[in-house]
């Protein structure tokens, strides 16, 4: 049962719809935090718990976080409202972009623009990979795992499930050992 001052499901959906429709690149977490705190839906600790779990669980962080917040204030119906709120606007926008793509991609100017955009998006991916690798510099084991994973996928075309089981499993084991050693020391 929702509390007396709990927001309506429409309010939950609209809150996340307005964030998802305007969240370019980063910054979504900050917008969600601001919205839910300003509305008094939860305190900072509850939000941070949700943020951490949203990042560990599979799925887009923005969507997971929206679901967590929706569920906090209105249970499963709130989570569903948040899911639709956070996913429908991006879906509608990408469909419009796709319709334009299929209509105009053969126009030489549009084709050139798309090729340029693709070169740019590749650059963003490389920059992201560099930043994420830099974040792993704390341990040589982590860096070795990054390299081994990339090579295994490049050269052996290992399926994702196997990659996560082998290299993710090795990473978790290494992290567990490190945590135990730190605890003992």
């Amino acid at each position: 049962m929702p509390a007396k001052d709990a927001p309506s499901l429409v309010r939950v959906a609209v809150t996340f719809a307005s964030i998802s429709a305007t969240s370019f690149g980063g910054g979504q977490k900050a917008s969600i935090r601001q919205s839910v705190m300003a509305a008094g839906w939860m305190d900072a600790d509850a939000f941070l718990d949700g943020l951490e779990v949203a990042q560990v669980m599979p799925g887009p962080n923005l969507l997971n976080l929206a679901i967590y917040c929706g569920q906090r204030v209105r249970g499963i119906p709130g989570a569903i409202a948040a899911f639709f709120g956070a996913s429908v606007p991006p879906f509608a926008i990408v469909l419009i972009a796709g319709a334009l793509y299929f209509k105009y991609a053969s126009n030489p100017f549009v084709h050139g623009a798309l090729r340029g955009c693709a070169a740019g998006a590749l650059g963003l991916t490389v920059a992201n990979a560099i930043e994420l690798t830099w974040d792993e510099r704390r341990s040589w084991i982590a860096i070795a795992l990054v390299a081994a994973t990339a090579l295994a996928v490049w050269l052996l075309k290992l399926p994702l499930l196997l990659v996560l089981a082998v290299f993710g499993g090795a990473g978790i084991a290494a992290e567990r050992l490190r945590a135990q050693r730190t605890a003992r020391a």
Partner: protein, 180 residues
């Protein structure tokens, strides 16, 4: 041409698996998605895949929303249905897991395993992001001007505060002039 229903079932199989394996916000699933959509099922070409990914980066919301465009292309008889099914398969399984997780949340959020799992998985995810560079690179234009554009975006992204979508649009401007 395979029937629309057959395609839709394949779409559900592919994207639902990617959904539940989408750790780290889904950054690591691009290589597998490329293999499935381009090599295995021939739903899209490598160039289309890269351009759809680019559109995913350009529009608001999660990048993996570009699954909708792959679904659109995969079911020529019913493109909108293909897009809707691909998006649902991409987002519903992980979202259902997130909802089901709520009851365990209090315990898990405080557990040392949470940090162990997220830090332990991180190197594999980062390796997969490097592998996505190759997947995406295959469909990017292979000309000196494109290489310079890519390199410039890397430097600008790492060294300045210019937003990612703006960098893509600026690259598009370069493309209009020099990559036609």
């Amino acid at each position: 041409m395979p029937s629309a229903l057959h395609n839709l079932l394949d779409i559900v199989g592919v994207f639902a698996q990617l959904s539940v394996l989408g750790f780290g916000g889904g950054k690591g699933i691009i290589p597998q998605m490329h293999t499935d959509a381009v090599t295995t099922y021939h739903w899209v070409t490598s160039e289309q895949f890269t351009q759809f990914y680019t559109i995913g980066k350009l529009v608001p919301g999660p990048t993996t929303i570009f699954a909708a465009l792959i679904g659109y292309a995969a079911v020529p008889q019913r493109p909108l249905l293909g897009a809707a099914v691909a998006t649902a398969a991409m987002f519903l399984p992980s979202s259902a897991m997130m909802m089901g997780f709520d009851s365990l949340l209090a315990r898990f959020a405080a557990s040392p395993w949470r940090a162990t799992i997220s830090r332990g998985l991180a190197p594999a995810i980062v390796g997969l992001v490097w592998a996505s560079v190759l997947s995406i690179g295959r469909g990017a234009p292979a000309t000196p001007i494109a290489y310079v554009t890519t390199a410039a975006v890397v430097v600008l992204m790492l060294r300045t505060k210019i937003s990612a979508p703006l960098l893509i649009l600026l690259s598009g401007g370069v493309g209009v002039v020099a990559l036609r």
